[in-house]
Symmetry: C2
Subunit: 248 residues, 2 copies
DNA sequence: CCTGTTCTCAAACATATGTTTTATTTGGAT
DNA sequence: ATCCAAATAAAACATATGTTTGAGAACAGG
């Protein structure tokens, strides 16, 4: 059990949450050439329309996927936590169909696209782990379509708060699902398909109901089961375990 | 140029729209053992919670991906056309996080999951083609998050109508983007995160604006450019061409 | 420590979309 | 042909969420 400080160690652990890697696979990932860079809030990792040349791996801080409407409305499509590779969704396509931006200041390890692709090809277990990870991301997209399409503001809000709680929990970034919310209410609004003022109303409502406790950006859930219920939150879609098929 | 009647030929053509396959790859796909079955409207191909054991390939008719809320609200996540494999999104995961159902009566070729996975492993080009296809599906999920989250009913409606037009066009199922809408207004509502009543209003509105012409379920666009604009529709997210990276 | 900018919060008002109900039309089954 | 169930359509009314505006609080940069 190595507890290295290698920036890509987080990526390895991230992949190993759902797929099996051999020691050689791990080492091969850690041997990838990369550039470590600190990026400010709002810095783009990739922009819609650009050809993906590299893959950024989030080492610290948070990021999000985003698309905008012709008249400037922004929709946040996904949130990313340390250890997430930000460009698996793009790097096998010719041009990016959406943008990825830093949600907070943070560090990123940049890997050349071909390096990663060659590794995935040379080591099928790594390719498979990447496939699994992209499929889980797609599952989260699906849940977001449901969330934004069919849940009311209160449930919708509660749902992303739960998702963040669960995912941070899986990384050990929280105590009892409580965490520091890494975004403003305006950004929350863009993730929920709501308006900033309605986000504010809704947070106040959840607070008044005793479903959440807030001090500034810090969120705590006095009763995790109760908010799970209120949010209609079922973590199945996060596929938070080893994805070895229950063979037939 | 073989114009066979093999049911899986559609799948091959579907994959070849975006990825390169060799003649051996094609043959290997066509050599897959499969069961042809005719499924009625609403038949499930896979259900949320089930472990995926097989992959259905749509041969004729239409299907959709779907999730529901605890209190029964349904959201349609994606629409599928002939040639689409319905279970790429599930078959590498342990349990399905959503359901797939027939939108119309139609035929399906059922392939055992392991057969397909083994083929994808044995022939990297096929594995790659599958990866590309799942990534494009994910791209469509993202566009739907934007559509449902940030576009008003009119644009939202116009947008799915355009998506269907474009995708059917790519299959040669349309004349000048006009086509037979394979779903009821209630199903449309579930795809749009709207109410059937409002779907009806919105269709009437688009019709009154001269953006669409309808007779029953048949849709035509008097001016494709005009509705594209009204829909804020940019087909980039469909990645309708060969995905060979513009190498750096 | 000050200062400007960015966030949060609030209130009053506007509107897009939802709800309920009922009528009409359509299409598939007998 | 006939009939029943489902789909479309329409109207009247309800409400969740959006819009606009502004004030106080927090924070970042000098």
């Amino acid at each position: 059990m190595t507890s290295t400080n290698h920036p890509l160690d987080l990526l390895v652990r991230n992949l190993e949450l759902r797929a099996r890697l051999s020691q050689e696979d791990r080492d091969a990932i850690l041997a990838l050439p990369y550039t470590l860079r600190t990026l400010d809030h709002l810095t783009y990792t990739i922009r819609e329309g650009d050809p993906p040349r590299e893959c950024a791996v989030l080492v610290s801080g948070f990021a999000y996927r985003q698309k905008t409407t012709q008249d400037g409305a922004r929709q946040i499509i996904a949130l990313h936590l340390p250890g997430d590779a930000l460009d698996f969704q793009n790097m096998y396509l010719k041009v990016s169909d959406h943008s990825v931006q830093m949600l907070t200041r943070g560090e990123v390890a940049i890997i050349a696209r071909e390096e990663l692709q060659e590794l995935a090809q040379a080591r099928p277990a790594i390719g498979h782990a990447i496939l699994i990870k992209t499929l889980v991301e797609a599952s989260i997209f699906r849940e977001w379509v449901l969330n934004v399409g069919r849940r009311k503001a209160r449930e919708r809000m509660a749902h992303v708060l739960c998702e963040l709680g669960s995912r941070m929990d899986a990384l050990g970034l929280t105590q009892e699902h409580g965490y520091e919310l890494p975004m403003t209410q305006e950004e929350l609004a863009d993730a929920l398909g709501l308006t900033p003022v309605h986000v504010n109303r809704t947070l106040k409502l959840l607070e008044a109901e005793g479903l959440i406790m807030r001090t500034r950006r810090s969120i705590r859930f006095p009763d995790w089961e109760r908010i799970r219920e209120a949010a209609d939150f079922n973590e199945r879609y996060l596929h938070l375990d080893l994805q070895v098929p229950s063979s037939s």
